[in-house]
Symmetry: C2
């Protein structure tokens, strides 16, 4: 029984890492599709999201089975509860990547944002990819240092998010309404992607320390 339990606990952690890797792949492809108007890459992201959704359901079922059969306590209980919470955030990160890819698909063959914003979005995309890669590392190692890096990168994304609005609402903005809508949504999706990563970092902190950090 104990062996089964250890094996299942190992599987929970492996599956979290596996889903995070898929999310990292999604955001890599989504930001490339967005920046380069690559519609077939956008399709790949949209397909990939179904896989992410299905894997989070499998992980949730596994977690609930462990709760029902093994009555985990202390750190093991925290791992299982955290897994349920983290899987919900990973699922949403996959959705954000999908939304970014969908914007690329809607506007194809045009690019989603006008020239004056492309540098900003390239940088937001680069940071989102970096955050997703850090997240894989965090779920693998549970190193507090990696959680700090994620928080710092999220701060940078928040600044870029604000700078998008400064540009769109500034005197020099020549965009049509469609550009304004797209820039608003795209910026929001990039920012939310990073927010969910910070939210997962808090959940990993709970896993390690037992202290629950409330959401904002």
């Amino acid at each position: 029984m104990r062996d089964v339990f250890q094996h299942e606990m190992r599987e929970v952690q492996d599956r979290l890492v596996e889903i995070a890797e898929l999310v990292a792949e999604s955001i890599r492809n989504a930001t490339r599709a967005f920046n380069e108007s690559d519609v077939s890459l956008a399709e790949t992201v949209i397909q990939n999201d179904q896989k992410i959704d299905a894997l989070t359901v499998v992980l949730d079922e596994l977690s609930i089975q462990i709760l029902a059969r093994q009555n985990p306590v202390a750190r093991d209980l925290r791992i299982v509860v955290s897994a349920l919470r983290i899987s919900a955030s990973l699922e949403r990160m996959g959705d954000m990547a999908e939304h970014i890819a969908q914007l690329a698909r809607y506007r194809f063959p045009d690019k989603v944002v006008p020239k004056s914003l492309r540098g900003t979005f390239a940088e937001m995309g680069r940071l989102d990819v970096l955050i997703a890669e850090r997240l894989v590392e965090l779920l693998r190692t549970q190193e507090p240092r990696v959680a700090d890096e994620i928080r710092n990168q999220d701060d940078e994304i928040d600044e870029l998010h604000i700078s998008v609005f400064d540009k769109v609402l500034g005197e020099t903005w020549k965009g049509q309404a469609v550009d304004t809508v797209d820039a608003t949504l795209a910026s929001r999706y990039h920012e939310r992607f990073a927010d969910h990563a910070v939210s997962i970092a808090k959940k990993v902190q709970y896993l390690v320390t037992g202290d629950w950090v409330p959401e904002d």
Copy 2:
């Protein structure tokens, strides 16, 4: 021991209803603040959100304690797992109400959206309030009929959400960039508020039937 357990299970359900009631109050005030540019009402919503956040933390702690001490199985386990998931969605609904209130505060003394969209947003707000009230009823009664009503109202909101973009991207739109940004964000917040309610309805369905319905 059994009595303590029954009492705690009762408390989980009562606390879910209590938080849902606060969320309903928030969205009622937020949509009024938004439609009538009532900045002091907007402040109330922003304050209220801290209370919602704190109560979800208390509920989560209670749920985890029950898992650790009582080893619930079958339906009791589903209630506790559902409570953890539902509290996360209620927390996000509170955030959406807060975001709507913040838009009202930013634009004060102006209204957030131009005249041509006010009817649409009044209707979206009315539906969000209705959904929040249905949600309180659903968490109290777990009636599948109420879950269906929530899904239908969400469909209506999705249609209004699309109609906002049709208007903003149409020939007759005379709004400035700031109006376009605000309409985009406000519509997204109203729509996401309802999405979270549908997501909770799925979780209640899981609670009642044991079948888990994946997220989109």
